[in-house]
Amino acid sequence: MKNLNKIPSPKIICLQILILFSLALMAGLGGNFLRSAPLALVQDWSVDAQLTTEDGHTMALGLDQAIAVFNKKSALFIDARDISKFNQGHIKGALNLPWHDVQEQFMAVAPQIDPSDLVITYCDGNTCTLSHDLAFFLKEMGFNVKVMTGGWDAWLNAEMPVESINGDNENV
């Protein structure tokens, strides 16, 4: 067992920390280099890049476009947040399909979606990615999907119609 009385000098402690970080750096970068499909060291993580499909089309839809589609009533909005947030308030007429429960709830929600309709997913705001995940899932299921990039925050700021489950917060 080690003698705990022997506390290393600050120089030794700095060396220990340096060894630890060096090992992690070598293993992380070296291990990635040896992978069959290595992760790029630098990648575009912008919203547009994340919402671009393999065929080069973007699923991103700005707030103005979403409002135009809403006013024409030519799209179905789907809220990807959990049910408690949906009940507190959501885009008027939106359905709720929480990403965290998508496997359990998809079959209940799917009959309410017309395959010929444009589906627009949304969640909290620009920093929320639940709507991205849900959009890719619905696209795989064969639906025509877009993601409203500003999300619920942008919709509220634009003072667009919203409703809650008990109707208390309705603003049409």
Binding site: N5, A24, Q43, D82, T127
Partner: protein, 167 residues
């Protein structure tokens, strides 16, 4: 604060580990618990680097250029910290890094919950099916942080105090 000069001048060569004490048992217990936790936490992230990069990006704290680099190196740092904690190698340097990282993790989760982000913690799994970070996550990380802080305290102060009181 620990006085290195005084420690050297005291000239003590007797090992305190020859006597088993409760602080010493806590020290080794905390070391082993954190060691296992760090190794367990690193496993899924090392196997699924892209999924972990997505988790890192979802936190919206790092510039895009650093997301993948962090996702590649951080899990290995956790793995090596876990091994060092279990074996007692590179201590107390590992305890300092562990405390620093756990402090940063806890603060980041608290900050993201505070600003209303509904994101996965990514602490032990990169799976998107896991529940988002919540108050339980902060409580759990705070307990880990306290264990790690105890390792630092014992390494620099606790063991020295025991030696002083032995004479």
């Amino acid at each position: 604060m620990y006085n290195f000069k005084e420690n050297r001048m005291a000239g003590n060569t007797q090992s305190p580990t020859s006597k088993i004490s409760i602080p010493l048992i806590f020290y080794h217990g905390a070391r082993w618990i954190l060691g296992v936790i760090f190794i367990y936490a690193s496993y899924d992230k090392i196997i699924h680097p892209f999924d972990f990069a997505t988790v890192v990006n979802n936190y919206q704290l790092l510039p895009g250029e650093l997301v993948n680099f962090t996702a590649l190196v951080l899990p290995w740092l956790e793995l090596f910290m876990g091994i060092c904690l279990l074996t007692g190698w590179l201590m107390p340097g590992t305890a300092i890094v562990s405390t620093g990282l756990l402090f940063i993790f806890t603060m980041i989760i608290y900050y993201n919950i505070h600003r209303g982000l509904d994101i996965n913690c990514g602490c032990f799994s990169t799976s998107e099916d896991t529940m988002p970070a919540n108050i339980f996550t902060i409580t759990r990380d705070t307990v880990f942080l306290l264990l790690s802080f105890y390792l630092c305290w014992f390494s620099f102060i606790g063991s020295n105090r025991r030696r002083r009181t032995a004479f």
